[in-house]
């Protein structure tokens, strides 16, 4: 199974953007497995930030997780103020409190311009981007969250196993 939508500049990326090793996560902000993977990925990125480019794509299971889509929209809206990762991290770090109000609170805490944020979350283009991420994920064989791709190939194991990629 391989990644059908190549990583591009429209993706949210961190780490070394020119690294040879590229990890893509398809994630859902309300998914507890993604929540459990979050600190592991954080640790991995801290340890190997020079060696890896990490990309996050949206895969909200919105029928099962009421706040997955609102959270994804909030993170995309934060991205319009260059604070995608701040919002992404804030949501995963407070996953147990996630609801609509809490998203506004987090937006405020990470210092977003709230007027702009409130107007941006209404934008159809954000919903369309999330939908495009989801569709791209499905055709690439995403079957649940989190799903990881390493250099374009599906990685059928958990976040902890990603550390093995760095053993030389």
């Amino acid at each position: 199974m391989s990644l059908k939508i190549p990583v591009s500049t429209t993706d949210h990326a961190q780490g070394n953007l020119n690294a040879d090793l590229v990890i893509v996560e398809y994630g859902d902000y309300q998914c507890s497995y993604c929540g459990a993977a979050y600190p592991v990925l954080k640790k991995l990125l801290k340890k190997f930030s020079g060696e890896v480019k990490f990309v996050f794509r949206n895969f909200p299971l919105s029928e099962m997780h009421e706040y997955a889509l609102p959270a994804a929209i909030a993170a995309e809206a934060a991205s319009l103020q260059d604070k995608f990762w701040e919002m992404h991290d804030a949501i995963y770090e407070n996953q147990q409190y996630l609801d609509d109000l809490y998203l506004f609170k987090m937006a405020e805490e990470i210092g977003l311009d709230m007027e702009k944020f409130k107007s941006d979350i209404q934008k159809e283009e954000l919903a369309n981007k999330i939908d495009a991420d989801f569709q791209g994920g499905v055709i690439s064989g995403v079957n649940g969250t989190p799903s990881f791709y390493v250099n374009g190939k599906k990685f059928d194991a958990g976040a902890e196993d990603l550390f093995k990629l760095f053993i030389k």
């Binding site: 299971l61 029928e63 499905v138 055709i139 064989g141 079957n143 649940g144």
Partner: protein
């Protein structure tokens, strides 16, 4: 497992405690059959959760999704309500696994369906079939690929 270009065997199964679904009534539309081992087991639930999100995409291809397991209609009802599923779960309950056997995806040892997918075209012909290892959620990419090809044809 029945392969491509086989006529899909017809069946009638309970979809709810008082409603039955007959496959041949869906001629003229594409049909996706997802056989799965059991309600409530973790991998199936993931698979069903994914398909629940996929319905709008299936609709674009004029495709109807039915998931089938040997669980009873009452079990399906509880499972469906608990997961907020928006597609029918068919009960292959009496005779147990009768439909799964016709499609050759019944696991006699476990007394359950294998995890298998079929895409049936508007004429009732199987256009794609896939058997997944029981513990692996097969995703939806194969289904979408097939539906896309059917659209082009």
């Amino acid at each position: 497992m029945l392969e491509k270009n086989t006529v899909a065997p017809d069946f009638t199964l309970f979809a709810t405690p008082d409603q039955k679904v007959t496959l041949s009534e869906f001629k003229g539309r594409n049909v996706i059959l997802a056989f799965y081992p059991a309600d409530w087991s973790p991998v199936c639930s993931d698979q069903m959760a994914l398909y629940n999100e996929m319905l709008k995409y299936f609709k674009k291809y004029d495709a109807e999704l039915f998931a089938i397991s040997v669980d009873s209609k009452w079990c399906h009802l509880a499972f469906s309500q608990s997961r907020n599923l928006h597609f029918p779960l068919l009960a292959d309950f009496e005779p147990k696994g009768g439909v799964a056997k016709k499609y050759d995806v019944y696991n006699e040892n476990e007394g359950q369906c294998n995890r298998a997918l079929f895409v049936i075209d508007k004429e009732g012909i199987i256009q794609w079939s896939y058997k997944s290892p029981t513990a692996v959620n097969p995703g939806a990419d194969g289904i979408l690929d097939t539906l896309e090809n059917l659209k082009i044809k």
